[in-house]
Structures are given as C-alpha cells and as structure tokens.
C-alpha cells in the first residue's frame, strides 16, 4: 500500500501550475488572458455498518480560461491531466475556441479586472494516512457498531494568473471524517453481515453525527471521536418521544446554528441578490428588521484558510463584517456587481457566496446550557433546509441526528424527526435568549464540485421558542 504519506507541499503545483503560464503566455497584443486552476488528489472512503463500502482515489484538475479583448469576454473550461505537453495543447485548443467565440460576444459593460498585478504563494505540507492506516483505524474504532461515514482527504489547490501579471497559488492538504453512529444495526456477530434487517424500527433513524478533520491526520483523534459518539448513542436507545406541533423552547448545538447560517449563504449577503429582490435578508439590509444586538457575523476568510484572491484579480479581505450588533453591516460585492449596481467592490467571488461565516460567541457556558434550557428541545443538527418564504427569511427543515427532549436540564428521551418552519429574523432576533460562550469551527465537507476550502464557525444558541409544524 502507499508507503509515503507526506507529499511535497507543492505536489499539485508541480503537476498543474504550468497551465497558468501556458495560458497567460498565449495572450496577443490587445488581449488579456486569465486562467484559474483548481486541483485535488483525493482519497474518498465510504463506510457502512462499520466496514468499508466504497473507496477510491480521484485526481482532477480544472482550468478556466478567460479571454478579454475590446471590452468583450468569453470563457472556456477544460480538464488538465498533468502531462505538460498534453495540457499545453489543451490550453492552446481552448484559446483558439475562445478567439472564435469572442466575435459573438457583446461589449460587457460590467467587466472589471484589477489592473494592479499581485503575486502570492501559499503551500503547506501535512501528513495524510495510508489507505490501510485509515481503514484499519476506522473499522477497529467502530468495533461492530453501526458506523456509516466518509473520509475525504489529500492535497487541494487553486491558482490564478493573468497576462496582466497576476500570479497566485494556494495549496494545502486536509482531511475530514464525517460520520454517524446509529443506535441500531451494525454487524451480526454470528454472521459478520449487516444486521439491519433485525433492527428495531424506532432505532433505524437514530444516530449521533460528528465531523473531525484538519491538517495532519490523527488516528488518535478519529478513535477518540468515534468512542465519544458510541457513548453518546446510548441516550438514543431510550424510548422516543413524538413532539407536538407548536412552539417549543430550544437549545441548538453549534452545528445546528452553523446549519442555519449556511442558509444565509443562499444569496443573503450577495450584492446582486440584494439588488434584484432575491436575497432572504432584504428586510435586514433595508433596516426594516434587526437581529438581537448580540448577533455579530463576519466573513472570516483568513481564519478558515480560504485563498485571499479571486478570478478577476482582486484581493479578498481577510475579514469582512456582515452583521454587527444585530444590524446589517456589509454585503459581498463582486467586481461585476460593483459596476452593475454602482457599489464599491470588496473582492467577492463572482457568485458572492460566503465561504467562512463566523458568528461571535456569547456568554452562556456550554456546561450550563442544558440547565438554562430547562425543559424543551435540544437539537444537534438540522437537515434539508430550504426557504419556505424567502422575503421573510423563513426556512423549513428537519431535526435529524441526536435530538432530545429535555426536562429540568436533563435529556429524557430522543425526539422523533420533527419539522420546523420559522424565520431566521426571529430565531436570531427576539427569540434569541443566549449564545453559548464557545464558537466551534466546522470544515466544509461538500464534495459535489470537488473538495472545497472554507468553514463555518458558530456557538450554540438558546431560543425562547422555535415553531415546529409536523
């Protein structure tokens, strides 16, 4: 199996960085050529019933070329393979395709490139596990329990260059192990097969979920996290309680608060969405609504290790206030939106989506949170959130993992999956009783379009009420 686990800090740059130079070197007089590369070499391992379900390695590098001339721009995306000659030929073909398309483009009044060329390089070498080390650790730690989860790890990078002289590269390696331990199931000790068919129906959807991850991989952290979850899952084996629809006091763990904050990434702070009637935070932005004064939210790119450059060449601010003392404080303004809506740009990416939301903690000690709740619902995560009334910032979603009914500060029963439907303007407004004193960071585990940089940081929240519906 793989013997070396520490790759060179710039392994991906060595394989794909040349595409940036190949692209920008093709610019002709009067043209500006820009190239954006993102690359990853990832081990992906799925587990089910405490054993390995599906595992593999994906190496993928994408290059987005942009050609700008006479105020027009066109874009072409291609896949790199790591062979410099083959990739240079793909870039040349792509550029030829762009020149053919440029004649069909129109003058783009909102095109804006940073003409002040900057350069940066960030690389970091970390230790990743061998395949055997990883799978042996997880399977041994699961020890017959019904663990289902996913490891994603390895180097990832993004780079940007332009014929104006920009040149940036950001490369690091990281890993996440996102998993759940179910209250029922696991392997039948007699047969070694999944024992799910015999699982009590009431336990089939009861699980504790957690995520560990970071830079250097640590078997000890993985083992400790799984052991902690195995202990916690015992509470879920108590007879469940079905919650009556209506308003209940609620304690949201930091992960549940992070789930709510992620909904605000759906256009909440986008200058374009705010200007075109599509943001859920329009009422907050226009001052007709205000959150509790203890709510302060920043986009903390530096804290989350997100590259501080974007595809139009502009630098991204390390930190940007979005909500300060409960009032709307800032929007994400891409260069394009700055031109279109007459705003001052702040280096936001083209989609104006936050990547590193960070909610300031409050003062309620985590150890006192259950007592402060008294009686009510204790929610560890939310699931499948969506807007049910976007202008009112009202969202609906489900409880899913480890949700308990609490009486006199003691969890007494797991709660059957329950739907809520409520406005975040209320949840973080007049219903907010306290924020806990510690903010926890949750790395971005999304892999749809490849692994991503970014994280959400949040404390827990105690609410005087949350509206449950079904």
């Amino acid at each position: 199996m793989t013997s070396s686990t520490r790759r060179p800090a710039d392994a991906l740059r060595a394989r794909y960085g040349h595409a940036l130079d190949a692209a920008t070197g093709l610019a002709r007089p009067g043209e500006v050529c820009l190239a954006w590369v993102r690359a990853e070499c990832s081990d992906f391992v799925r587990f089910n019933h405490g054993r390995m379900r599906q595992a593999g390695t994906v190496e993928r590098a994408l290059c987005e070329l942009r050609l700008v001339a006479d105020g027009r721009q066109v874009r072409h995306c291609l896949t790199l393979c790591g062979d410099p000659d083959v990739d240079a030929a793909r870039v040349r073909d792509g550029m030829a395709r762009l020149r053919a398309a440029l004649g069909h483009a129109r003058v783009d009044a909102f095109l804006d490139l940073d003409r002040l060329a900057a350069r940066s390089a960030h690389t970091q070498s970390v230790r990743m596990p061998t395949s055997d080390e990883l799978v042996d650790t997880v399977c041994a730690a699961a020890s017959g329990h019904d663990l289902v989860g996913f490891h994603a790890g390895g180097p990832m990078a993004c780079g940007f260059a332009s014929s104006l002289g920009h040149h940036h590269w950001h490369e690091t390696a990281s890993w996440t192990f996102d998993y759940s331990v179910y209250a029922g199931g696991g392997l039948d000790p007699a047969t070694g097969r999944p024992a799910r068919a015999a699982v009590d129906a009431a336990l089939r959807d009861k699980a504790v979920k957690a995520t560990v991850g970071g830079g250097d991989w640590s078997a000890e952290r993985v083992r400790a996290a799984i052991a902690r979850s195995i202990t916690q899952v015992e509470l879920l084996r108590r007879p469940p309680r079905t919650l009556a629809a209506g308003r209940h006091r609620a304690l949201l763990d930091a992960r549940a608060v992070a789930d709510l904050l992620e909904m605000l990434a759906w256009g909440g702070f986008s200058a374009r969405a705010l200007a075109s009637g599509q943001s859920p935070l329009m009422r907050l932005a226009d001052g007709s609504a205000r959150l509790d004064r203890r709510v302060s939210l920043v986009e903390d790119l530096e804290g989350a290790g997100v590259p501080l450059f974007q595809a139009d060449g502009y630098a991204r601010p390390p930190r940007l206030d979005l909500i300060r003392d409960g009032a709307f404080a800032g929007r994400l303004v891409s260069p394009r939106s700055a031109r279109e809506f007459g705003l001052a740009g702040n280096g936001a990416t083209g989609d104006e989506t936050p990547q590193a939301l960070s909610l300031a903690p409050g003062t309620l000690a985590e150890s006192d949170a259950l007592a402060a709740l008294g009686s009510g619902v204790w929610v560890s995560n939310f699931w499948y959130l969506n807007f049910s009334d976007r202008p009112a910032c009202r969202i609906t979603g489900m409880t899913r993992f480890a949700t308990f009914w609490v009486e006199d500060g003691e969890p007494v029963a797991p709660v059957q999956a329950m739907r809520f439907d409520d406005s975040l303007l209320r949840v973080f407004g007049d219903r907010l009783e306290a924020l806990t004193g510690t903010a926890h960071a949750f790395p971005d585990t999304a892999t749809y379009d490849g692994r991503a940089f970014g994280a959400v940081r949040a404390p827990g929240a105690l609410l005087t009420g949350l509206d449950f519906t079904l």
Partner: protein
C-alpha cells in the same frame, strides 16, 4: 486499453466519459460571458472476489491508466480484507458491442441565432416594467459520450445530447418579491435532443408570459391555510415523485449507504411485493426508454441493459431502484429483488451509485376540466420553488411558484406562495384522480444530488396532473 494488466482472478472495468458544453445566459439584459467547456477522463474499477476499488484519472495515456488501475487494485485488496462484499457476487457488464447514438433531431442554431433568441425573451421580460427587478434567459447544451470497457474490450458506447432552456423573472415592490420561471428555477424543462427541446419548452415567446405572471403573483393574495384538495401540475409532480417516491426506493439508501449524508428510507427490504404505497390509481415506472427524456439510456454505468420496469402497480410497491450490485447485496441478506439499470455516476470522476433514471407516473383517464370540476375547495399548484423532506423521505414540505384557487369546481384567482406538507407514507394514498394523456408532460432535473463524494446527476420525470384530497395547505407570512 488492452495493455492494462487485469488482476489475477479479478477484472478491470474502465468507463471513459467525454463532455462538451455550451452555456449562454442573459441576466438583467446583459449577455454573460459565453461559456464553453470540455472534460474527459476515465474511471477505473478493479474487482476481486469479495472486494472492489476505484481510481479516476484525466490522463488517458497507457501509463496514466496503468497507474490508476494499480491504485484501484490497492483499494480492491483492502476492500477484500475490510469491506462489505465477502458474500456478494460482484456484477460485471452484461453486454457486448452496444451502440447508442445521441438523440438530436433538430440541430441547434448557430451561436448568433441562439443569442438572438435569448435576447428577445430577455427584452420581453424587461418590457414588463420597472417592478421586474431581475430577469434571466439561458440555454445550456451538453453532449456526452460514454465508453465502457471490460478487461480491455469495449462493451458499450453511448452518446447523448442534453438541452436545458430557462427563463426567470422576479417582480418586487413594497418589500415583497415574487419569482416566476419557465419550469422552475432549477431548469425543470430539460430533455435529450436538439432545438426541438427549446421549441417545445415554451421559451420562444415565453418571456412576456413569465414576467406577466411574476407581476400577477406580486399583487395576488396569500395562499389560504387549511386542509383541502391540491391539484398538482406536472412541473410540481416531478418534484413530488422525485423526493417521495424516487429517493425512498433507492436500494443503496435502503441498505444504509447514504445514512450519513443523503439519508435513509422509510421503505425496508421486506416491503417489496406487498406494501401499499399509494392508492390504486398509482402506477410508477422506471423507464429509461423514451429517447427524449433526460435520463434515457441503453446501458447503465455498471453495464446493465436498460428497459422499462414497473416499480409500483395499482399502488402496490413491487421493486426498488437498485442496480445489480445493490440487488446482490440484498440477496446476501436474504431478499431476492430484481435489479434495474440504475447504477450511474455523474462523470468519470465519480463511482456508480443507485440512481433514478426516468421515474414516471403513468397517465390515468381524467381530463383536466373534469379534475377541476370535481374539486369543491382546493388549490391548483404549478412549478416547484421550495422542497424539504426528512432523511427517511417521509415528512415533506413543498412550495410552488404559482397557485390558483378552486372553488365549487371552478378555477379562480391566482394566489402567491402556495405550500403544502404531508407524509409520504400516507400522502400517496390520498391520490384520488390521475390526469389523462392530455395532461401528461415530460420534465426532469439536471440537479439530483446524492453520494459521498457528492454527485449531481440528470433524472427525468414525466407525469400527468394529479389530485390529492385532505392536504395541509398554507401560504407565506403576511
């Protein structure tokens, strides 16, 4: 491909995928950068008795593929030792020499023509007035070619051509905003083919209608609250089918693979053949056959030939959406289930998992006029805008762009923010009327998400209008 060394006692399956795309969009009157794309790579799967592993590579040279095969074999050996498949017969492609051409009847116009067409609709939306604060017209055309190799021999080759037209307008005034689209803000009208897809979508000439309907919604009263009938049109039925029939019937969910991410299912292995999923009016097919539907193919990515199969007949659950690997796993657990060609991946860089293809509701016998005439108190709903469902695919809440009251058998005024909620296990039993073929429409979504690592894949849904009684309906906050 023949130079790849096949592992002793095992097999190598290689899936090569090449994709070419064109993306055109006007946003608020401005042509966005014309975007093209090209992507190619190979997924190499090594299988040994009792285990399998994969490696994906964009390098298609012999050394690059050999490296990928070696890495896949490493994972396969580990899978033999610590995987789930010790007692499972791992499937191999079951065809030889299959060939499928792309279904493209009418060529797309030249770039200039397509840009002009979108521009015209964009201008029509803008012409609706200053209260239209956002408007967009777009079209995406994607061509893909798949080749499947078993131990060096090409066993299947398929080509596809997908087209996704879209229109969207947002009207805003006095702190209120309403959006209307051609068929959903996530491209619900999407099919295989050529220009005829755009022609059939209603995009041509649709800009004025979409903007006008956004304005109507802006001034419409809120949807009423209470228990009543809902008449769901096909561009909402597609979402209802997708979330509360399609996902819960995926066999890999039922086997627990997705419990950490996409969720589990209220359906279990013992229900197939006996469980009453819906009323006797409910007939649901897994149908990869109609060449115009978004997820039609002749061969899935596991190499299983595709054919139409009934999953629910007269309301009784018959079969899951499971490929041959999932069915082999179920068999090892004592449940003999018939596979369908459902094992698919969204590209060369992702492994196969169980997926809906085209999951359709068969038409009934009720014309739309008769369906409306039979409703005393209800809401007709069109075009999904919001969706949420629990991890077992049971408790759902869905919202639509467009609602119209129905009172005493007459279709009445428009209402905004129509929403409804229910429980899958009982909702389909409240199906009381299924529209005839005149109400049947072919829809789909390019954005079905699932899997670890995540995958977004195309699925098709065709449905007639359907009526459900005694549903919990509500609107927005006043």
């Amino acid at each position: 491909m023949r130079a790849l060394r096949v592992p002793s006692g095992g097999h190598l399956v290689v899936r090569c995928v090449h994709t070419d795309l064109l993306d055109l969009a006007f946003e608020r009157g401005t042509l966005q950068p014309i975007t093209s794309g090209e992507d190619a790579g190979a997924m190499v799967v090594a299988s040994l008795p009792g285990g399998m592993g994969y490696a994906a590579s964009a390098g298609l040279s012999a050394p690059a593929l050999a490296d990928a095969a070696a890495r896949a074999l490493e994972w396969a050996r580990l899978s033999v030792r610590l995987g789930l498949f010790q007692d499972v017969d791992l499937p191999l492609p079951a065809v030889r020499g299959l060939h499928r051409s792309a279904h493209a009847r009418a060529p797309l116009p030249e770039l200039e023509g397509l840009i002009g067409l979108l521009d015209a609709e964009s201008q029509a939306m803008a012409a609706a007035g200053a209260r239209i604060v956002h408007w967009a017209a777009s079209a995406r055309a994607t061509r893909t070619r798949h080749r499947l190799y078993l131990d060096g021999d090409c066993v299947g080759e398929q080509a596809f051509s997908f087209v996704e037209p879209s229109l969207e307008a947002t009207a805003a005034d006095a702190g209120r905003a309403q959006s209307r689209s051609l068929a959903g803000q996530y491209n619900g009208f999407c099919r295989q083919g050529g220009f005829e897809v755009i022609a059939q979508s209603g995009l041509v000439g649709g800009g004025a209608r979409v903007a006008d309907e956004a304005l109507q919604l802006l001034s419409a009263p809120n949807c009423p609250e209470g228990r009543m009938s809902v008449l769901l049109m096909p561009d909402q039925m597609m979402l209802q089918i997708h979330e509360s029939i399609g996902h819960p019937l995926e066999l890999d969910r039922i086997l627990g693979d997705e419990r950490n991410f996409a969720g589990t299912s209220f359906v279990d292995l013992s229900m197939f053949g006996t469980h009453r999923y819906g009323s006797e009016l409910l007939d649901v097919s897994f149908d990869p056959g109609d060449p115009t539907q978004l997820a039609s193919y002749d061969l899935d990515d596991e190499g299983t030939p595709a054919r139409k199969t009934m999953l629910i007949e007269r309301g009784i659950l018959k079969r899951p959406i499971g490929g041959r690997l999932s069915c082999a796993r179920a068999r090892a657990l004592g449940h003999a289930l018939e596979p369908v060609a459902a094992a698919r991946a969204c590209g060369w860089h992702r492994p196969v998992i169980d997926r809906m293809a085209n999951l359709n509701i068969e038409p009934g016998d009720a014309p739309l006029a008769r369906m409306i005439a039979g409703i005393e108190h209800g809401v007709l709903m069109r075009t999904n805008v919001s969706w949420s469902i629990d991890d077992s695919r049971n408790k759902f809440q869905f919202g639509c762009e467009w609602g119209q009251l129905i009172r005493d058998g007459t279709l009445g005024p428009v209402v905004r923010n129509p929403n409804y909620r229910g429980v899958s296990a009982s909702f389909w039993r409240s199906l009381v009327q299924v529209g005839d073929a005149s109400t049947f429409e072919t829809m789909g979504t390019p954005f079905c998400g699932k899997g670890e690592p995540g995958q977004v894949i195309r699925v098709g849904h065709a449905s007639p209008a359907c009526r459900f009684d005694d549903v919990d309906v509500f609107g927005a906050e006043e």
